[in-house]
Structures are given as structure tokens and as C-alpha cells.
């Protein structure tokens, strides 16, 4: 049987981290009383107009720069029309013709065969990033045959990041999204918490034989976590392969991922292809961005966005942070991945290193094996750790000075997890874990053992 090449592309919507919405001054907040964060514009009342939020533009520029995109100095807004109860205007303001950023790339790493020691770097092309409005939320009440609509989310700024179909499986898709999530969180342009709907991912999946044109693709929605993303993509690839090998065809449809069943099911009843009737948004002139060269002389600073100014102030991206950790502390690349993958862990590690004489290469083992595993077992974040970096450093110093053994240190740590406020030294004294350094005392103990077991000693001497 001829091999199949799966092709996976992603459309990611990241909610912009801002105080107010993209085109109005109502607040952006998760879980507020229904329809309390809605302005007249958000509710699409007649006579209201969109006013662009500067912070949202800056967030999109930062993200574009971090993803190596070309920033379009002139971008345009358009209307995308469709009818749905949570879209009060009957259209979404988006950037279809000329988005704010194009042609970027994202590098991410994968472990080969689940072995952390063998990591490979892959790249996915970023087609574009566009600014657009989020829609409201529909709560379906099937028992009363109605839909309840909350417009709190309507109008919140989104960055849609379109990734080209350069990925080939669930693992790659998951790794790419994870890296994007870390980048967004580092930039602060989005908090990117999938569970709160701040990061939504749709996957486009198709399969084909080598040398043949791409197959019909399906769109998979309703993916609520990075783990489910990998599952959904892999399931869909398998489903398509099986369907085609059984002589069937793939429909160009939208499917939803059912996390309970672990499969994808057909979603929308699409009466033919949707015609969104894109048209320029007549109420918004082009968005003009500047750089150091093109900066206009006499203009209100508040009205000017300077791409170079933003570029200079970008924080270290995760990939740079990892390199620095490896270089500065001599730890392995895979260690740096784990450190950055857990919120606050890298800072915890660095804090311990500062407070102890133990070499970072030894400290990392304690962080990754002992601290992290405990936190994971008890579903705690680094911030919630009962053992602070100060306390851990204290313990490691005892070990480093050879006042206790490695085994004893683990015992002390186990006790420290109880968070009873005892210092490592307290516990060492309590449990009498001090290493004996006095030569004479050691000799006395050994002699006592020998004296107490005369027969065994004779047996040993005789061989």
C-alpha cells in the first residue's frame, strides 16, 4: 500500500490581553455578569462607530515581530458577513485583504521517540496575523429550545495567527501551539490560557500520496487543550486514511472534536460554501504604522505607533531564554525546555542557584527530579510550592558542605514538603541525620560492631 502524507495547518485565535475591547471602551474580563461588559457599539445599536484601541495594535505588532513577520505599514479593515445570534452586527470586522503582519516563522522542538535527550527543531511558516473582533457567547438551552446570548465577549480583540500546512501530525501541531503560547505569554500580548478561551485552535487536516496533489481537507474545531489538539489531529488523519483506503471520499466539511469519545464528528450543516461577502469597513481608514525612518515630524505621539520602538523593547523570547540558561548554567537543552515549560520554574531554579554553593549542574537535578515531580504529583504550581527557593538552597548547602548525605537530603526534603516551617537544619537534628566527620568516633563505632559480632568476623577472616 502506498504511504500517506498527512498535512496539518492551524488557525489560532489568541485573545489580546488589554483592558478594553478592540473597537470600544467596554472592559475585557473573564466571567462577569452577563451583558455587563457591553457598550452600545458592541450590541450593534444604530449610530455607533468603531474606534481602534492602540494597545491592540501594539500587541499585534509585538506578536508579528516575535514571529519574524513583515509588518505591513498600511493594513486595512474589512467586514465579514454571516448571520448568527452572537454576532449582533451581522458581520465581523477583520483584516481580509491586507492584514497587519505576513510571512513569518515559528521554530519549535520535538522529542524523538519521547526521549527528552533527542530533540529536533522544526519550523512552521506563519502566513499572516490579523486583527479581528471576537463574537459573543451562545449558551444552548436545548430543553427550552432556545439560545441564551451573552455579549460580554463580543468585540474583544483577537489576533488570528494562520500557520501554513507545514506540520504532519498531532505531536507537531501540539508542540507548535505550545511554543506560540509561551511566546504570547512572554510578550504579554495574550495570556493564551486555552481553558479560558483565550487561545482557540482550529486544525485543517488532509492526507495524500507522495507526488500527488493535496487531498480534500477538513476543519476540526472544539479543541480545548493542547493534549486534545494532538489527539484530534491524529484521529482525523487516521479517519481520513481509513475512509480513503476503503474507497470512500473526504468531504470538505467542518468537524468537531468530541473529547469524551476521542473522535471527530461532522459539525455544521453547511448549505454549500459560505459566502462572506467581504467588503472594506467603511468606518475605518487604513491603519498606518511607522518606523524610525518614516516617523512623521509633527505628530501627536499618542497617535503614532513606531515599529522599531516596539522591536527594541521586545523581551527575550523563550528560545533565547533557553539558550541563555544553557550557556550560563551549563545545563542540558532539554533541561531548559522543562524549566520554561513550567510557569515560574526557571525563576525558582535561578533563585536557588544564587543562594547556594552547589553547582547549577547538580542543582538542576534536584529541581527537575525532586521539586517538579512533587509539584506535579500534588497538582501544585511553582508559586504554590510549600518549599521555597530559600529553604531548598539551605538544604542543598548542607549537602554541599557534606554535613549530610544525599539520601539524608532526600529524607529532609520529604519532611520539608509538609510545610511545617521547620528549617532543614531543624529536621537534620531531629532525625539525627548528621554525617559523622569525627574519625575517632567513627573508629569507635566500627570497633564496637566488630566486637559485638566476633563469630561473623572470624568467618570473614577465614574467607
Amino acid at each position: 500500500l502506498a504511504p500517506w502524507i498527512p498535512v496539518v495547518g492551524l488557525e489560532i485565535h489568541a485573545q489580546i490581553s488589554s483592558n478594553s475591547k478592540l473597537f470600544s471602551g467596554s472592559q475585557v474580563q473573564f466571567a462577569a455578569p452577563p451583558n455587563s461588559l457591553v457598550s452600545f457599539f458592541d450590541a450593534s445599536l444604530p449610530g455607533t462607530l468603531p474606534v481602534l484601541n492602540r494597545r491592540c495594535v501594539e500587541a499585534a505588532v509585538m506578536t508579528g515581530l516575535a514571529l519574524n513577520c513583515s509588518i505591513n505599514k498600511k493594513s486595512l479593515f474589512d467586514r465579514k458577513h454571516y448571520f448568527y445570534a452572537d454576532l449582533p452586527a451581522g458581520y465581523q470586522i477583520t483584516q481580509q485583504r491586507v492584514p497587519i503582519a505576513v510571512n513569518g516563522s515559528l521554530s519549535y522542538s520535538l522529542c524523538i521517540d519521547n526521549k527528552m535527550s533527542q530533540m529536533v527543531t522544526k519550523t512552521v511558516r506563519i502566513k499572516q496575523i490579523q486583527l479581528e473582533q471576537d463574537s459573543g457567547k451562545s449558551l444552548h438551552d436545548d430543553s427550552r429550545c432556545q439560545t441564551l446570548v451573552d455579549l460580554n465577549r463580543a468585540g474583544v480583540g483577537l489576533m488570528e495567527v494562520v500557520m501554513e500546512p507545514d506540520m504532519c501530525c498531532g505531536e507537531e501541531a501540539a508542540a507548535a501551539v505550545r511554543e506560540l503560547q509561551l511566546i504570547l505569554q512572554t510578550l504579554g500580548s495574550s495570556q493564551a490560557v486555552m481553558a479560558e478561551g483565550q487561545l482557540r485552535v482550529d486544525a485543517n487536516v488532509s492526507v495524500h500520496h507522495p507526488g500527488e496533489p493535496y487531498g480534500v481537507r477538513t476543519e476540526v474545531k472544539n479543541i480545548n487543550s493542547i493534549r486534545f489538539l494532538a489527539k484530534a489531529v491524529d484521529y482525523e488523519i487516521q479517519r481520513q486514511i481509513e475512509e480513503l483506503e476503503n474507497g470512500g471520499t473526504i468531504l470538505n466539511e467542518t468537524r468537531a472534536f468530541d473529547s469524551k469519545l476521542g473522535c471527530t464528528v461532522p459539525m455544521r450543516d453547511k448549505e454549500g460554501k459560505q459566502d462572506y461577502r467581504f467588503m472594506p469597513e467603511p468606518n475605518l481608514p487604513p491603519l498606518i504604522l511607522y518606523d524610525a525612518k518614516s516617523l512623521p515630524a509633527n505628530m501627536n505621539h499618542q497617535q503614532v505607533i513606531n515599529i522599531d520602538w516596539i522591536h527594541e523593547r521586545l523581551p527575550d523570547l523563550p528560545s533565547v531564554k533557553r539558550e541563555k540558561l544553557v550557556e550560563q548554567y551549563g545545563i542540558l537543552p532539554e533541561h531548559s525546555f522543562t524549566l520554561l515549560n513550567e510557569d515560574g520554574l526557571a525563576e525558582f531554579f535561578e533563585s536557588v542557584v544564587k543562594q547556594t554553593q552547589m553547582k547549577p549542574k547538580r542543582v538542576i537535578g534536584w529541581i527537575l527530579n525532586d521539586v517538579l515531580s512533587y509539584l506535579k504529583q500534588h497538582s501544585l504550581t511553582v508559586k504554590e510550592s510549600p518549599v521555597s527557593s530559600f529553604v531548598l538552597a539551605d538544604l542543598l548547602n548542607l549537602l554541599e558542605k557534606k554535613e549530610i548525605s544525599s539520601t539524608a537530603a532526600k529524607q529532609v526534603l520529604a519532611e520539608l514538603w509538609k510545610g511545617e516551617g521547620k528549617t532543614p537544619l531543624d529536621i537534620v537534628k531531629e532525625q539525627k541525620l548528621e554525617l559523622l566527620q569525627d574519625q575517632k568516633e567513627l573508629e569507635q563505632i566500627c570497633q564496637a560492631v566488630i566486637d559485638g559480632h566476633e563469630n561473623e568476623v572470624i568467618m570473614m577472616v577465614l574467607g
Binding site: N35, S39, N53, D275, Q302
Partner: protein, 109 residues
């Protein structure tokens, strides 16, 4: 060139416009004819213009402050039906009847 029945149906679905009778369709035909005059101008190599403001800055940028919202009561005043501060809508889009099912469609056209 007449607008086909399929195109009319498609337009009615997209825009929820009801062309109702042959007079409405005729008006549509005339409107298309009028707009088609634009094709008489040769625009080869000319960038489409969608703003007379061109490259001059004038898209106002607002500061990221919370200045609106908190008017739930006012917003819900317009709602015909509400449930505990939610707007109420039908369970999904109510589809227009299919082309074959509409007897009154284009009567006399």
C-alpha cells in the same frame, strides 16, 4: 443579461432580502445595469481606492481605558425576550425555505 433564479435565491439567503415579486427583481436588474457602467472605465494598473484619505494618517487610536459598559438594563430594554440578563434567540439560524419549496417565489416573473 437577466439575473438567474439561483442567483436571486442565493442573494436572498445571504442578505435576508425578499425580492418578493417581478417588480422587485426588475428593480434589482436595473440597479445592476446602473452599476455595470463602472466597467466602461479602463482601470488596468490602477490600485483600487477605498478611502479618499489615502496614506494620510487619520485612523484615530484610542487609549486602552475602560470607559463604557455596565448598562445591562438599558441594553435589555430592547429585547423582546430575556432570561436573567441574557438575550434570547432561537436555537439556531432558522433556514429560509429551499428554492423548490417556495411557491410564491417570483410569481409572475
Amino acid at each position: 443579461q437577466k439575473v438567474s433564479v439561483e442567483v436571486l435565491d442565493h442573494l436572498e439567503h445571504l442578505a435576508l432580502v425578499d425580492f418578493r415579486d417581478s417588480e422587485g427583481v426588475e428593480r434589482l436588474q436595473k440597479a445592476i445595469q446602473f452599476a455595470d457602467q463602472l466597467h466602461e472605465v479602463n482601470t488596468d494598473g490602477v490600485e483600487p481606492m477605498d478611502s479618499v484619505l489615502e496614506d494620510r494618517w487619520c485612523l484615530y487610536l484610542r487609549e486602552d481605558d475602560v470607559t463604557e459598559g455596565n448598562c445591562t438594563k438599558q441594553l435589555l430594554e430592547n429585547a423582546r425576550e430575556k432570561v436573567e440578563e441574557y438575550f434570547v434567540a432561537p436555537p439556531g439560524n432558522i433556514p429560509l425555505p429551499k428554492l423548490e419549496e417556495r411557491e410564491a417565489f417570483l410569481q409572475g416573473s
